[in-house]
Amino acid sequence: MITIHLSMDSAAVAVGAEAVAATILAETKSRSIDVTLVRTGSRGMHWLEPLVEIDVGDGRKAFGPISPDDVPSLFEGNFNSSHPTALGSVDEIEFFADQQRMIFSRCGITDPISLLDYGQHGGFEGLKAASKMSASEIVDAVMTSGLRGRGGAAFPAGIKWKTVLSAEADQKYIVCNADEGDSGTFADRMIMEGDPFLLIEGMIIAGLGVEASKGYIYLRSEYPVAQRVLTRAIEIARTDGLLGEAFDIEVFMGAGAYICGEETSLLESLEGKRGQVRAKPPLPALEGLNGRPTLVHNVISLCSVPSILAEGGQWYRDLGMGRSTGTMPFQLAGNIKRGGLFEAPFGVTLHDLVHKYGGGTLSGRPVRAVQVGGPLGAYLPASMLDTPMDYEAFQKIGAGVGHGGIVVFDDTVDLAAQAKYAFDFCAIESCGKCTPCRIGAVRGSEVMAKVMKGEDNVANLALVEDLCEVMEDGSLCAMGGMTPIPVMSAMKHFREDFISEEESK
């Protein structure tokens, strides 16, 4: 019996996995051989997708990237290692081998909607442990672990859990923020498509920890595959009794708004209203969904929870560096040779991620800038890549780890255009409630256009700086508040793109 594993992850599909799947099925039929095709999540090595892993009885062997044309020859050669696409075992690929996969341990290996697979591959250990603990013991474990919000804010998760647990209310909620809107990020998507039970387990444990009986997954509308997979997984979980009256989960679809990744806009949208930012206080932990105490967490944060409960908070705390504990799935994207997901404890340097594992640029040209943390992240010059991936270390250099997205640019990038793009992005995605963001983004874009034309650069750059100050200090939320980060970092580290030496005088 031959088993062929092929990803149905959106990234793999985007590069032709479905056509490959169809060809494989056609081949097996025409050759009348006993082959099982298992669709899995992605291994997270995008340059190798569509990746197939074939097990003829002696372990999984990887081949990729596969196109439909490669399929016949694969079958011809009996899937042996002389095929030009043969890669050997995934575990031997450096990009993969150097990772420490805790969250993504099953992703790409198991059938995402097989409860059996999940249980056999270490799933439910966290829930088993949590079921024997009191709510405050669960919260203590999370506090000890030092887990910080993986959505971008890096707020200590344990404090949020404690706040929600201590709040008295007739109903509490767990809300999973699956509106992964940052450019260059896909970790949330990957895990929802590849190992949905992990998220479900994490949410159930959270429900136990803060005494909430209902959970929502706010999923961005641009993730239809994740919607399908999650919905199916939830149905299976219900049938199995994992979900039900004590705790149930519902998937709620967003509608194309980046701002709904901000927790208060998300809650507004979940309540059926305009996705408009709410002022804080009150904190969602006390007055969140429908005015009730709500634990809002990013997908990866919730997916980190089962390990913490299974292995203990201290074990988690010992991973990483300083106050950046545990592992982070770094996402490599942009102009990069080897893009994909690299899960490792905090501490690996940006340089290693970009060059050692990422292989530098796809174009082969020198790396000029790297933007970390999404569209509101700082642009870092090549000289600053030696920074370890650590929340505090990044803060020190005026940047942020954010959700872990890393976008690489080669030397053809124009940072003035990127700065303008930062304003453009803000203008498109702004909810419109506060003035600095609503009007500021548009004006910023207009002024940057003038700068790019060379009009009155000294005055206009000074104006951009003033505008950035207004937006940073005055905005209601991080949308407007962090737009100055890419702008100012571009201006600081790549000033030559903005103004010539003579003009500056």
Partner: protein
């Protein structure tokens, strides 16, 4: 915007018994816990620049002007959204903040028209003020960037204009519509820079907007401006007065240029309305200067002759002569009068005094006869006084609200907004009404129970509710034992347990579900605080008084009386109907509801007035008509009331008036009653009056002149002159003097005077030694009569029955934009919302008769017939049709009957058996009405010939 920039604290008051102390710019200030930094600063006398904050709505945090620095905290939080905490040290003005504010303002102005000098709110614009306050000098972005300057105005709604080019997207209008008015008609459409205020329909007029003006008031710029402001400019002075429309009695500042009212701005400290208003009070004041306004007295010998303008002296002399002649011919009791429930207490006092002292009889009545007289009877019997038991604010503490036969969103809109706010906070709602009124299901509100009972079955249903409470042992035993007469209770208890009062029996009669009755009863009885609000759907029935007593029984049974959040609340309709009743406009009662037959009381009045007074009760209004047709009542003085449009069974009213020999009408316009009048004494609008009104809360509010009477005489002066000509002089110098007399002769008003009201604001009676500051909640320690009285309320169906000939039931009421007989509102732009009365009919009834939307249909009862346009409406239950009576040509009261409440003769407007069918012509009454219309309004100018 408002002329007199009331102190705006930025965010609403926090209600907490705990207090916090902090320092703002070096000033120490203590505020209730939960107060925002912005409000705390204001309390310390410091105004933080703001645009999106205003204290009528919750903090929003969008403009980012109000940023402050807090010691020990990073960043610059907005002071409106930050709660004050003990020990905080706040700075509101620093270099950093100044730069930020200027930066924000620079962004605003980069997308704003620069036409300040020609803008309607020049001098009255918060954006202007803030630009000045932050010292904006320069918009470095220039003006060539993206902007909204080309957006078109929305001028669809009659009273205000929406100019999106000036909008700063502060959302104050949206929040006002959400939080204050509760209609939720506005939203922000579009995202980011393209955000604009929108209604969800193509324009304001076609949207759910009810034109209450809260958005216009909240708007800090010219974006939403009153049309009168745009036309005339910013007002220069203001006079505080009380609205002359409904029984909510909103306080307003009339803002004027000279004696022209530019706009009516609701008073923030108005205790009935707290700074809110409706379309009528705020915008529909134009009738006071309408061309139809009669300003000169007129007389005529017969009602077929044209009117002749004459001098005041001649008119008074003519009237007095006629009245005296009538008395000489037909007897002392052959003349009388009807006082207005729209005129001031002082004006009404003089009319009832004139009738008693000058005419020498008790033939005085008021329109409460046809609306809330059963309230008077019912509450007097059970509690000991005819008055609503709470103030409006009491609804804020209600847990369960039961609305019976009242449609507050249409008839008492400002109070309805307050009620809706409480419902959105979580209070539960029970609605008992044959129609699915708006309140049953509206944004964020859904009635827990709607009992759409058959008209006429009120008493059966209230008995069923009580039956459930008693049989399921939900009685508040402690309250009943301590506060109510035990014998009467026992009698009533055995009566109510009779199976005929069970939900199962009643369900059949009333056409509603028995389980719903049970559930509603349990909800009411189980609430911490349950309050009942009721209207004419209770009183205008043959068992109106019985029903009032039935509801009173329910409140006593469950202990829901005598404190805040509970009570029995009659929704008095007119602006001064409460006052008119309080003033003794009753054939059987002096002021304060004391019987004319009571010798002690009567002697007191005799002594004060220096004349002997009749001890026998006089005619009620329905009696007046009956007696007129029998040649016993032949002269009448009608003050501000249009009986020929508003009373039922119009043919009878017309016959009565026609038969009289002296009909005197005192009013603003030639109305239906004036068709049959011999003397027309022009009256004054509320803008020309000095006096007081009493609203549904028993609250006395001051009415102040903004202009001299257009007629040249105060209305009370006219009555005094007539009284003098009849032989009883009334030498008052001012309206204040009249109130002094009222206070001296009416124990519940003993502490009232103009001075007291002018210095201390409005007061709820009783206001006397026992209650020097007035009385918000009544029957607190004991009932006015001592112990509460349970009264047996057996259900007796009305005589008005449906049969094959008249299979449907007609019930009548009112809508938001028109007011009662429409005398005022028909003479304003409010006609744009409703030009004609229509008949609302359920689709199944319409289909069965081949009637489609807009078709002319004839409605026929055993009394008469009229023709109206049809409106298919799913808020009706099958078998029940509904119309209003705002337009005289509708002839609505041609078909209503002579049936009335057994105790008070309040007409049974709410139950008329009718048949409805497609029609192709107007009814005979309507044709006759149209033909004779012109004839009755011909006026000959002073000394001249009659014009066409």
């Amino acid at each position: 915007m408002t002329l007199h920039k009331n102190e705006d604290f930025g965010t609403p008051e926090a209600r907490s018994s705990e207090s916090v102390t902090l320092e703002v710019d070096g000033n120490s200030v203590s505020v209730p816990k939960g107060t925002s930094l912005m409000r705390a600063a204001k309390e310390a006398g410091i105004s933080i620049p703001k645009l999106c904050a205003t204290d009528s709505v919750e903090a929003f945090g969008s403009c980012r002007m109000c940023l402050v620095e807090v010691e020990g905290k990073n960043g610059t939080p907005s002071s409106c959204t930050t709660p004050a905490q003990d020990g905080m040290v706040v700075k509101t003005q620093t270099d950093r903040l100044a730069k930020l504010r200027r930066g924000v303002m620079e962004l605003y102005i980069s997308d704003h028209p620069l036409d300040c000098l020609t803008c309607p709110t020049n001098g009255d614009c918060e954006l202007q003020d803030m630009a000045g306050a932050v010292g904006l000098r320069d918009v470095r972005y220039g003006y060539a960037g993206e902007n909204h300057l080309d957006l078109k105005k929305d001028e669809s709604t009659p009273y205000f204009t929406y100019d999106p080019s000036k909008c700063i997207v502060c959302s104050r209008c949206v929040r006002a519509c959400d939080e204050v008015q509760g209609t939720l008609a506005l939203t922000i459409e579009g995202r980011g820079f393209s955000s604009r205020v929108a209604t969800g329909a193509e324009d304001f007029f076609n949207s759910e907007c009810v034109s209450c003006g809260a958005c216009v008031q909240a708007c800090p710029t010219a974006t939403l401006s009153e049309n009168s402001l745009i036309e005339h400019g910013v007002p220069e002075r203001s006079v505080e007065t009380t609205c002359a429309y409904c029984g909510v009695g909103c306080s307003f500042k009339a803002e004027l240029k000279g004696d022209q009212v530019i706009r009516m701005m609701p008073s923030k400290d108005g205790k009935a309305n707290h700074g809110h208003s409706c379309v009528k009070g705020r915008f529909a004041f134009g009738y006071a200067s309408h061309k139809d306004r009669i300003t000169k007295p007129m007389i005529r010998d017969t009602i077929d002759a044209p009117w002749q303008e004459v001098s005041w002296d001649d008119a008074i002399a003519f009237a007095a002569k006629r009245l005296k002649a009538t008395q000489a011919k037909y007897g002392k009791k052959s003349i009388g009068g009807i006082t207005s429930s729209r005129c001031t207490n002082e004006e009404v006092w003089l009319v009832q005094k004139m009738i008693r002292a000058a005419f020498g009889n008790n033939n005085v009545d008021t329109c409460a006869r046809v609306c809330h007289s059963p309230t008077g009877y019912g509450l007097k019997q059970t509690f000991g006084t005819s008055a609503g038991t709470q103030d409006f604010d009491s609804v804020e503490e209600a847990d369960v609200i039961m609305v019976i036969g009242s449609n507050p969103t249409d008839a008492h809109p400002v109070f309805a907004s307050q009620m809706k706010k409480r419902l959105r906070e979580g209070a539960k709602l029970i609605v008992i009404d044959p129609r699915k009124i708006d309140l049953v299901r509206s944004p964020h509100i859904e009635a827990a129970h709607h009992l759409p009972l058959q008209p006429g079955t009120n008493v059966a249903v209230i008995n069923a509710l009580a039956h459930v409470i008693v049989s399921e042992e939900l009685i508040d035993e402690g309250f009943v034992a301590e506060r109510c007469e035990s014998d009467a209770f026992e009698d009533w208890k055995s009566f109510i347990l009779d199976p005929v009062n069970s939900p199962e029996s009643v369900a059949e009669i009333a056409g509603i579900d028995a389980e719903e009755i049970r559930a509603a009863a349990r909800l009411y009885a189980g609430a911490g605080n349950a309050a009942i609000y009721y209207g004419l759907g209770v009183t205008e029935h043959s068992q109106g008084s019985t029903m009032v007593m039935g509801m009173a029984n329910l409140t006593m049974l469950t202990g829901n009386i005598g404190r805040r959040g509970v009570g029995l609340n009659p929704m008095r309709g007119q602006n001064n109907v409460q006052g008119s009743c309080d003033m003794g406009s009753f054939p059987h009662e002096f002021s304060g509801y004391r019987p004319v037959s009571d010798e002690t009381v009567r002697t007191g009045f005799q002594e004060a007035w220096g004349v002997e007074l009749d001890g026998e009760p006089g005619f009620r209004i329905p009696n007046m008509f009956d007696e007129a047709c029998a040649d016993n009542f032949m002269g009448i003085y009608v003050q501000g009331e249009d009986i020929a449009q508003s009373d039922p069974n119009i043919q009878h009213v017309e016959a009565a008036l026609k038969n009289m020999e002296c009909v005197i009408v005192q009013d603003l316009f030639l109305n239906e009653t004036a068709r049959f009048a011999h003397v027309f004494l022009p009256g004054t609008s509320f803008l020309e009056k000095d006096g007081t009104f009493i609203n549904a809360e028993r609250r006395l509010g001051r009415v102040r002149k903004v202009m001299k009477p257009k007629t040249g005489m105060e209305e009370w002066e006219v009555t005094a002159e007539l009284s003098k000509a009849m032989g009883y002089p009334m030498p008052y110098e001012s309206a204040a003097e009249i109130m002094d007399e009222i206070a001296a002769l009416t124990p519940t008003f003993a502490g009232v005077s103009f001075e007291r009201l002018d210095t201390g604001g409005s007061i709820q009676w009783p206001c006397n030694e026992a209650a020097p500051d007035g009385t918000p909640v009544m029957h607190v320690d004991e009932f006015v009569r001592g112990k509460g009285l349970f009264v047996v309320t057996e259900y007796i169906p009305t005589e008005e029955k449906t049969n094959r000939k008249f299979p449907l039931i007609l019930t009548t009421g009112r809508i938001l934009s028109q007011y009662n007989v429409g005398a005022q509102t028909r003479r304003t732009e409010n006609n744009q919302w409703m030009e004609k009365d229509v008949l609302e009919i359920h689709s199944s009834d319409a289909e069965a008769r081949g009637i489609r939307e807009g078709d002319w249909i004839s409605i026929r009862s055993r009394k008469g017939e009229t023709t109206l346009a049809a409106m298919i409406s799913d808020r009706m239950t099958p078998g029940v049709v509904y119309t209003t009576f705002h337009h005289p040509e509708s002839g609505t009261n041609v078909i209503t009957t002579e049936l009335s409440d057994w105790a008070t003769s309040c007409p049974e407007y709410k139950v008329t058996a009718v048949q409805v069918a497609p029609a192709n012509h107007k009814s005979e009454w309507q044709r006759h009405y149209e033909e004779t219309a012109a004839l009755h309004t011909k006026i000959a100018p002073f000394g001249g010939e009659a014009a066409e």
